[in-house]
Point group: D2
Chain length 339, copies 4
């Protein structure tokens, strides 16, 4: 940490700041300029709050110079993390992985057809919600355990892996035997109790960025999962909330290369929630892969116009097929492949 | 709902939209202009998604013209809701209520002294976290059940009520006998499972606005609590995330009168989290009450410079005292009182 | 400036950074920790770009520790600036000043009646646009020079001062003899050529915050005016753009006390543009003064329902009257007066 | 326009709204539901303000159902606009056009070398600022007319076209004989007087999105240029301001396909300002073209570490070369070419 004192700070102010830094475990180096004194705290105390220093008397500003996350930082695994699934599918390797399926599991027929269409197009994972976080209590809330069982059944029939959203600690035990990857939604990115419990499982987790979360906060949330010992973690950009209302969110494509610089974890993109409008999903999906995404999570429905949720942003099956064909041509430009 | 068709929409497009509206339960009135056709859907189907219509072929735009929330709407209780607590304290009445205390319960001495100072200054509630949602897994996570018991004990000694944050369904049962009001933090504003369970209790709930939540989303979250039958609900503005980084968040003071227009629920303000800097808390607290807030939730610590969390935004006890004295003078200007 | 090197930075990286710092005019103090090297640059080169250092090889991060503005900084005039107008009215003193009037000058009758109503309610300035920046080229663009002359005429009749918006360098010469205060709108906050020219006049300037401007950027824009020698400068918070769309903008009330800490310049508030909805203007006006604003700029129209622009946010005359009566009671709570 | 009345609106409220609509030139169709009355205004009055209706007594909400822009709308030229330059280069056709060069013209040597490197890499335009809008009055402000002449000279030597920023009406006349395309910066997107004057020239204009501008506002600003009769207009996404501070702005890639749907004008992207960090420019440039951009505007400097402005975001010449090579492979995936 570095503390820059105000020009008019007194020696007493400076001594008080030094004392507090030493108390927290820093070695303090002092630079006295003609106008301004600078205090550099060397060492890494277990935890400290840089804000605390910003409001001390005589302080101009204070800066944290080490990352507040450790296990999530690129330094921890400079070579990068790959997450390997049951059937050998790898996220974070050379191949760009597509996960597709409807927003919600609605019926056996709907999810079976979805799986067949996703597999035929080239997806490796079937997505579909069994427990749904809906803004309104009057909206469809999902099929629950029956939905999970259907996901497993049709995924096995079609050779796909299952990814589905977990909203609540009590769902974890239920899900572990039935799914291949937990999905933590944007609204739960800072549900720290849930993250801690997922860190104690050995099932991979895909963690979506919260709609108002900075990239540093994403990595701090990742740290909750990693510090429990679960290293099979994938991050996912899904759009942030901005003043622009034409799209549901603003897809922050730059988050992909930035996260790949800051962390060793694979980074995927969810253009469906990022834009919220079906016809904008393919251009944003192409953009995400061009910018280096390790995979795509997308909503596709056999009949989007009759979907019980998120129909407006679900691809028609033929759109998914066409998109994956384009991705096969685009991926090699950035040194990747799509199977 | 209203659907405005594109100038170039065909009769088939129009018929398809009408059919879908009827299917959902709307009576459709059609206005055919020289350029544009407008379809007005009258009636209120249980749930429908206006986005679904925006992407139908031939549609220019679609507008929801009824609120998606019902129990939270002002119409439901035009006279306004008051929440009455054990000792007769009322939130939502003529009196502006102050809730104050440290971010976290740290020890018996610290919380006892906090309670004494809060009570002496004129606060009616003691706040203090026993379970803490912290961005970093390496930060202090709270004293848990021991903290709750301490809160109860010192509140009873000083005649205060207890408000504390609930993060997890499993904490509800534990908390009910020990506290007077649940606090749902900004990060949990859309933890719908938690909200639904709180709706099944009969303990009052203070629900904070999420940092990227629109006011409509706040009211939809309120609906989760209300629809469970718990009408003792208080809303709380605590700052939203914007591009300005000087303050921790941007306190949206206008949210107070807007919410009071849209809903019958009491609306409080938390300037401590809103700005994150101690010396800015008093001016923002005064502003919130001038704009009509029903109460204030603020952090105060007997020794903020040694606080284990949020020290930078915690008031010194004498600041709280001076602020409440000012509030006593200001409240009558807007037709309120501070005891 | 401080540069924190990466843990893995080489000695060559460090030497390159030091060399560049010296080249710019810094004296460099080096702190070598077990993991990390920190370079403190002491001295204040005329201009440098901290971003340049952030991307140098081996650099973890770089921090500017002095303000990029000088004349606008609080240190430059710790006692604060007051702006004194022709008739003895002072902005930045004990009195809270109200400036009121219609969005646009529409006719002699309309602006004369506006002036009479504003003066009767207690306002000291008449506002009114003669040149209007309108988002659409098809909207009313103002009466131009005729509007300016009308403003002067009716202000003189009623003992008011005139404030009006300047959009363009070529309007300055025209305006100087007719007005008392230039208003620079949010959209022109970074029209640096215009600001530079206004700095060469000796007519007071009210500078509004841009809708996406940080407070640091506001002060850098202020620096353009001040560095031309015009110290009669007033800042004005008028709402920033956020994700919330219920209000036209989000009024950042915290900007008022923050700016008053960072700068010696008076700080006013414009709740009309801040919220954009008539009935929300009074609570936000009260909030701004409670938070310490030196004055209020507000739209009032004799007949808002027939206004040619901004009718929805213009107060009815009786609303302005009632509001100023409340302000007279509120101001003393924060040590101010309203005449 | 559509006006949805409140459930509790009286017949008098309804009549007042109808009267005002008729006054503005609408034909009004009324739909009376069991709870709610809906008024559809058919016809297109020259200008009206939908906000005015939102605050009328008894009104629930009001919606504009026609675009506020006309000439910029897709309908006006469904086949799309192409802008053809002196040497036959076309923006908005099959070819993706690259414009590259330094932030500022610094010297004859620097700009000549820049032009040679840009041309060699495959760029068609040389960019470079002669008049610079700088946040701080103490930063380098550009070489002015000498810079313009140098741009023309070296562009002619290398077969490039010249694009440069215009900040001020008085610069237009000076620039017309020396440049091929005006660039309007983000800070001037709503400098309506400047836009109107540019509309009266016949020199092409590239208009950048303001950092807090909605896409509708971009199109309204475009309307100012088009309504003057200048149809050689290109739009440019350059990042918007959000809460994320790791990047200078947040590049809104979705703006590209959205604008292409809403307007007939070509849409380019400026990833340099969008992200502000050199190494992030190539992935975002690839993303923009993958999403359909008609061209790229990028900063490249022969020696970015010594640049007088924006060095941190300027590409090294070899980065530009490598990027254009990748673009040549990527463009065909989306049906485009790069020469």
């Amino acid at each position: 940490m570095i503390v820059a004192m105000q020009d008019e700070a007194t020696e007493q102010h400076i001594q008080d700041v030094i004392e507090r830094m030493v108390e927290l475990g820093f070695n303090v180096h002092r630079t006295t300029g003609t106008n301004q004194t600078i205090l550099a705290g060397v060492g890494t105390p277990a935890h400290f709050d840089v804000l605390e220093f910003k409001v001390l008397p005589g302080v101009h500003d204070a800066y944290r110079i080490s990352s507040p996350y450790k296990l999530a930082g690129r330094n921890f695994r400079p070579e990068g993390t790959t997450v390997t699934f049951a059937n050998g599918v790898v996220v974070g390797g050379a191949e760009v992985i597509v996960m597709a399926g409807p927003c919600s599991v609605e019926s056996a027929e709907q999810i079976r057809l979805s799986a067949q269409l996703a597999a035929a197009a080239g997806a490796k994972f079937l997505r579909g919600g069994a427990y749904k976080p809906r803004s309104s209590p009057y909206s469809f809330q999902g099929m629950g355990l029956d939905g999970l069982k259907l996901l497993r059944e049709v995924a096995d029939e079609t050779g796909l892996l299952v990814i589905t959203e977990v909203m609540e600690i009590s769902q974890i035990e239920l899900m572990v035997p039935l799914i291949d990857c937990f999905q933590v939604g944007a609204r739960n990115m800072q549900n720290f109790n849930l993250l801690r419990e997922l860190g104690h499982t050995r099932t991979p987790v895909l963690l979506k960025r919260g709609m108002a979360a900075t990239l540093e906060e994403v990595l701090l949330s990742a740290e909750y999962v990693l510090s429990g010992g679960n290293y099979d973690l994938i991050l996912c950009e899904r759009g942030i909330r901005t003043f622009e209302t034409y799209t549901r969110n603003t897809m922050d494509i730059s988050a992909i290369p930035v996260l790949q610089k800051l962390t060793h974890l694979p980074v995927m993109a969810d253009p469906s929630h990022g834009v919220g409008i079906r016809d904008l999903v393919p251009p944003l999906a192409l953009a995400a892969v061009a910018a280096g995404a390790d995979g795509l999570l997308m909503e596709m429905h056999p009949n989007p116009d009759k979907a019980m949720s998120d129909g407006a942003q679900s691809l028609y099956p033929e759109q998914l097929q066409k998109l994956i064909a384009q991705l096969r041509l685009l991926a090699p430009v950035v040194g990747r492949t799509v199977a």
